[in-house]
Amino acid sequence: MDKVDQFESVFRSATKELFHYGILPIRTVLIVTDLCGSPAERFAAKVRALMATVRNGDECSFVTIDGERFTSAKDLLDLVEAQRPDLIASYRCLHSEAWRWAFTLGAHIDVLTQSTTTPVLLMPHPDDSGEAAGSESTVKTDRVMAVTDHLTGDEHLVNAALAFTEPSGTLFLTHVEDDATFERYLGVVGRIPEIDTEFARELIETQLLKEPHDYIRSVSAALRLANVACTIEELVSMGSHVKEYKALVEANQVDLLVLNTKDEDQSAMHGLAYPLAVELRDTPLLML
C-alpha cells in the first residue's frame, strides 16, 4: 500500500513542532574563577555587565567563588551543590595553563557541564588582571546565536538563547545538517537500484532543511504572539558542523553562542559542542 504510506507521510509532514515561549528563570549566578582578589573582582564585574544585558538580568544575585576556595573538580562540585545556582559563569582551564592552547576546556569545566544540569556561561579566558581578551564583545548580547544539529523542538535551547538576547538584538537560529552523514547515506542509496539517487537526494535534503525552517517560523509566530521584541534570523544549511559554525560566528559577529552540551547517549560532552567550545575561545558561550 504505497499510497497509504504516501498520504501518511503527507500528514506527518504537516504535523509541526510548535515553539512555546518560556522565561528562563535566572535568579542566582555563581561566578567561578581561579583568580583571587581584585583580578577576581574584575572578572566578576565583567560577568555582571554581561548579565545586565540579559532579559530580567537586573534581578539576578551574584555569588563569586575565587581561586582560593577550590583546587580540584570535586571541591568545585561541592561548592556548586551548596549554592544551587541557576547559572554558573566561568572560563576554560581553571587552575591550569592549558588555556593557552586550543585543545581542552580543562577538567573543572568538563565535569561541571556534564555532572550538573545548571547552564554554564563560558567567558573568554581573562589575563592575570581579570581582563578578558576581546573585552568589548563580552559586555553585550546584541547578536546571539543558537547552535545545534537538531533545532526542531528544542524549546530549551531557543528559550535560553532568547533570554540572553537583548530586546533590540538579533537571535540567529541555526541548524547545520551534517554533510558527511548525509553523503554516507546517499552513498548507500546510490547502491540500491530501486531508489532514484538524485530524486532521493533532492527530497531528503529538502525535508531535512524544511523541518528547522518550519520550527523557526513557529518561533517567530510565538514571539509575535507573546509580544517579545527580538529579531529572528534563520541560518539553515548543509555543511560540515565545526567549519560551518566557525564561519557563521565570524560572518555574523556573534556576541554569544548558545549550545547544548548534554548527550543522552554518552557521558562525554555532545559531539558538536566540544570542538566548538574548544576552538571559539574569544566568544562567550552559554553551554546548556
Partner: protein, 501 residues
Amino acid sequence: MLATILSLIPGDAAGAANHTPPAGVTYLFCGLLVGLILCLAFEERLHAKKSIIAGLFAVVCLLLGAAFHILPFQDVLIGAIPISLPEGLLPSDWSPAHHIYGGEHAVHMPVYIPAVDWGVIAIILGSSLFVDVTSRSGLFTWIAIRLTKLSGGDPRKLLWFYGLMTVVFSAVLNNVTAMIIVGSLSAVSLGKLKRSNLLLAFLLTEGLLTNIGGLLTLISSVPNIIVGQAAGISFVRFFIVASPFVLVTTLLTLWMAVRVFKIPRLSGVPERLEAEELVASFDENDGIDSVGFFWFGAAMLALFIAVIATTSVLPWVSSLGMGYVALSFALIMLLRYRSSADRFYQTVDWDLLGFFGALFVVIYVMEHAQVLHLIGQGVGLLLGLGPNGSTASLLVSAAGFSSVTDNIPLAAMLANILKAQAAQAPELISSGHWWAVIFGANLGGNLTPIGSASTLVAVTVMHKHKLPLSFIGFVAKALPYATLHLFIAVLYVLFVVPFLA
C-alpha cells in the same frame, strides 16, 4: 480433465464462430468462471495480483474460445450508421426493431480488443490520473487537516467529521482513494492526539462508509460505472436516486459507531486545551507548494464534477462520453507537471486497469460460451419471484456474492445479463433491478474485509499499525452495520426508488 477438453474440441479450430456451443463447452467455461471468482476471493492467499489472475484466465478463455469456435474472428465494422431504405428495398424479414446500417468500413482487429469496454477503462484511467495530480495541489490534505483542526481534537467530533469526509471523498474521488486519504489521516492524527486505541474503530467505520459514499454518484465506484453505463443512468439521475439513502445510512452508521465503540468526548478544560494544542500543530498549508495551483486544482475539481454530471446533455461531449471528460481533465492537470508527467503514469494502478481489461475479455468469452445465458436463467428464476421478491432477492444475493469476491466481475456479469434480459423481455426488468445490483454490489463490500477494495485498504492500514483484526473479527464487528445497511437498502429500492428513478 485435459482429455475431456480435447474431446470437446471440434476438428477445424479455424472455422467460423459457433454461437450455440454444446452444453459441455458451456459448463467448461462455467467452471473457468467459478475458478476465476474463487482465485479472486483467495487473492491474498495466492500472493498474486488481480491483473495476473484475471489475465491468466483471459489467456486460457481466449485459447479455448478459439479452439471451440465460439469467438467471432470476423473483421469489425467501424463507423456504421443507421440508414433508411425505401419500403420496396427492405429485406423480407425486416422489422422496425432492427436497424439497417451502412457507410461502415471493416477493420481487422484482434478479438480481445472489442471485448474490452474502453469507456469504463477511460473513466478509471482518466479520473485516477486527475485525482492523483489534483491531490498534489494539497487540496484534499488541506480539507482533511482543516476538519481535524475544526474538531478541536475531540474524538467524537473527529469521528463525525472523518466519517462525513469519507463519504464525500468516496463520492467525488473514488472509495479507495477516500479510504487511503482518511485512513492515513486517522492514523496520524489519532497518534498525535495519543488516541491510537481508537484507530481500529475509526478505520472500521470509515471502511464501511466508503462503500456507502461509493453509492452517491455514478463515478464513485466501478460497479456504479459499469451498471450505470449498461442501464443508461445519467450522473444526475444517479445522484438524485442514491443521495437520500446515502445520507440516512451515513448518519445511522456514525451514530451506531459512537455507541458501539464508545467514542468519548473530551472532558474538562485541561483535556480540551491539550487536545486543541495538539491539533493546532497540524499545518494545513504544508502540502501547498503553489497557492495558484491549489486554487486551480479546486476550480478544476468543481468543473470536473460539473462536466461529468452534465456529460449526457452537453453538446458534442455527450457523444464522446465520460471517459473522454476524465482523460481531458487529467491531461489539463498534467500540464502543471508536463516535464515530469511520467512520474504520475507510474503511480497509476496498472494492476486494476489490467484486471479490468482481462475481466472484460473473460466476460466476453463467457458471453459467447453461453455462460451468461446460463446464469441469466438462474437470474430469471429470481425475476420470477415477482417485482418485489425479485428485486429484494437480487439485491441480497448480489450483496452476498460481492462480500466474498470482487464486486466488479459481479457487476459486469449482472449488467450484461440484465441488459440481455431487458432486450428479450423488457416487461420483466424494472429500474429497481438495476438499482438492486448497484446497491447489492456496493453494500456487500461491508460484510467481509475482502468484500471491497476500500475495506481491504482499511484492513491494510489496521495491519500496518499492528491492530489485530481477523477475518471473523471483521465480520463480527461489521455484521450489525452491514445488516442494517442491506435492510434499509431493500426497503429503499422497493418503496422509494420507483418514485425517484
